[in-house]
């Protein structure tokens, strides 16, 4: 199974600004002084060896869109945040407009950051394509249709040329979608949201974003751990610190890196992927959260090691 992250930011796109790019550039140039970087190959090698991730790259600013590839011919996506535009351009570049494709999309919920990419989802404009959108959320069809509507967007939904289908799902019931078995789970989030367990090619990925997990709710923790059980990767909403999520941001519907580690440890999951990054956090901050999460996993480990990564726009995970 291969997982490609096209959008990893929470709530709102958060593009890297010119000043931040310049800071990275100045820092890299100072570090490279005297290194004799007179070819692109030497410069690439220097970036790999001498610069940390935030010094040489960015976690990115697109909102949620994750591609799961379990070997099926059709595409499978989770959510249609602004990252869906990047995905659609890459898919179009790969196939061209003359070769129709089928795109399956699991929608966690309909808050704007999870559907805002659909009006710019290029395959929707191309005749012959099929786009099948699935969700346990009761209003997903109307929310997606209504985005393509005046005065907010100039192209009406009815003007889209692809065949677009909406398929309601029931939580806790397995479905066969794009070569995978997909099961939804209701999550704690204002206006409802749903996580998905995706099993395919002998691997299991959990997509759980916009989900609040409360440490005192033992029954829900155990239900969640059962849902995560044995997963190869858990893509987890770690937007806030634990202190924030149980104090000033309690009931805001998001979770923390600490809860991610604890739930993955309970579930015997193999890898935790920090996701839905707080838009206020810059690259250094997110890298710091990753470092701390690795340390928390280390000091709380009682069984198998839990691998921890932080998702970034463009990350490809081989699961």
């Amino acid at each position: 199974m291969k997982i490609t992250f096209w959008g990893t930011r929470g709530s709102l796109p958060a593009p890297l600004g010119g000043r931040a790019v310049r800071r990275k550039l100045v820092n890299a140039l100072v570090k490279a002084a005297g290194a004799g970087l007179d070819t692109p190959e030497k410069a690439e090698a220097f970036c790999d060896e001498a610069l940390s991730f935030p010094e040489q790259a960015t976690f990115g600013g697109n909102t949620s869109c994750v591609q799961v590839d379990a070997g099926d011919r059709d595409y499978l996506l989770c959510d249609l945040g602004s990252g869906a535009r990047e995905f659609s351009l890459a898919a179009l570049g790969r196939h061209g407009p003359g070769r129709p494709q089928t795109y399956h999309v699991l929608v966690s919920h309909v808050h704007w950051d999870h559907i805002m990419g659909f009006p710019f989802f290029v395959p929707a404009f191309i005749p012959g394509n099929t786009i099948r959108i699935y969700s346990c959320h009761p209003h997903f069809e109307s929310a997606i249709r209504n985005q393509n509507h005046a005065p907010c967007f100039p192209v009406e939904f009815t003007a889209l040329s692809a065949k677009i289908e909406f398929v309601p799902l029931e939580p806790d019931k397995p479905y066969e979608i794009a070569g995978c078995t997909v099961t939804g789970m209701a999550q704690l989030h204002g206006g409802e949201s749903f996580g998905y367990r995706i099993e395919g090619a002998g691997k299991t990925a959990i997509y759980t974003t916009d989900a609040e997990y409360k440490p005192e709710d033992l029954a829900r923790m155990e239900r969640t751990a059962a849902f995560f059980k044995g997963a190869d990767v858990v893509i987890f909403d770690s937007m806030y610190s634990l202190a924030e999520s149980i104090s000033v941001k309690e009931d805001w519907g998001h979770s923390s890196n600490i809860m991610g580690v604890e739930l993955c440890q309970m579930a015997g999951a193999k890898r935790l992927c920090l996701f839905h990054h707080e838009p206020v956090n810059d690259d250094d901050k997110i890298q710091g959260i990753l470092t701390e999460t690795l340390r928390y996993e280390e000091i709380t480990r009682t069984g198998q090691k839990l691998d921890v990564v932080a998702a970034y726009d463009g990350l490809v995970l081989d699961v």
Partner: protein, 119 residues
């Protein structure tokens, strides 16, 4: 693990030990909230014997802290071992409570010193 309680001046001191996790966080919460109710002006949580605290234990501290705040009583956490201090830092609970190196220092800070200055 067990939770002990004592009183110094107007401060209730809750002594915790071992691991605080999902299995005993509720008992920890009850002990803390009861200490907040009975304390005259402050609660100090002595964490010297604590090896580990999970999210559930931290939440118990948060609830007691809120109860103390509403009752206009001071709340402080003292004597964290290095590993537990790391957990407080990673979870950002170090930004929530006043943390002190030892109980005497905490007592002094909340205005209920035993005798002399902070240890």
């Amino acid at each position: 693990m067990a939770f002990g309680e004592s009183t110094v001046g107007g401060a209730a001191i809750v002594k915790a030990g071992g691991r605080i996790d999902m299995s005993n966080a509720e008992a920890f919460r009850e002990t803390l909230v009861s200490a907040v109710a009975s304390a005259r002006n402050a609660v100090i949580v002595d964490m010297d014997g604590v090896d580990y605290i999970s999210s559930a234990g931290l939440r118990a501290l948060m609830i007691a802290f809120r109860a103390a705040k509403s009752a206009n009583k001071a709340f402080a956490v003292a004597a964290l071992r290095p590993l537990v201090l790391e957990i407080f830092t990673i979870s950002r609970f170090n930004l929530v409570f006043p943390l002190y190196g030892g109980v005497r220092e905490a007592l002094y800070a909340v205005g209920a010193p035993t005798s002399g200055g902070p240890a």
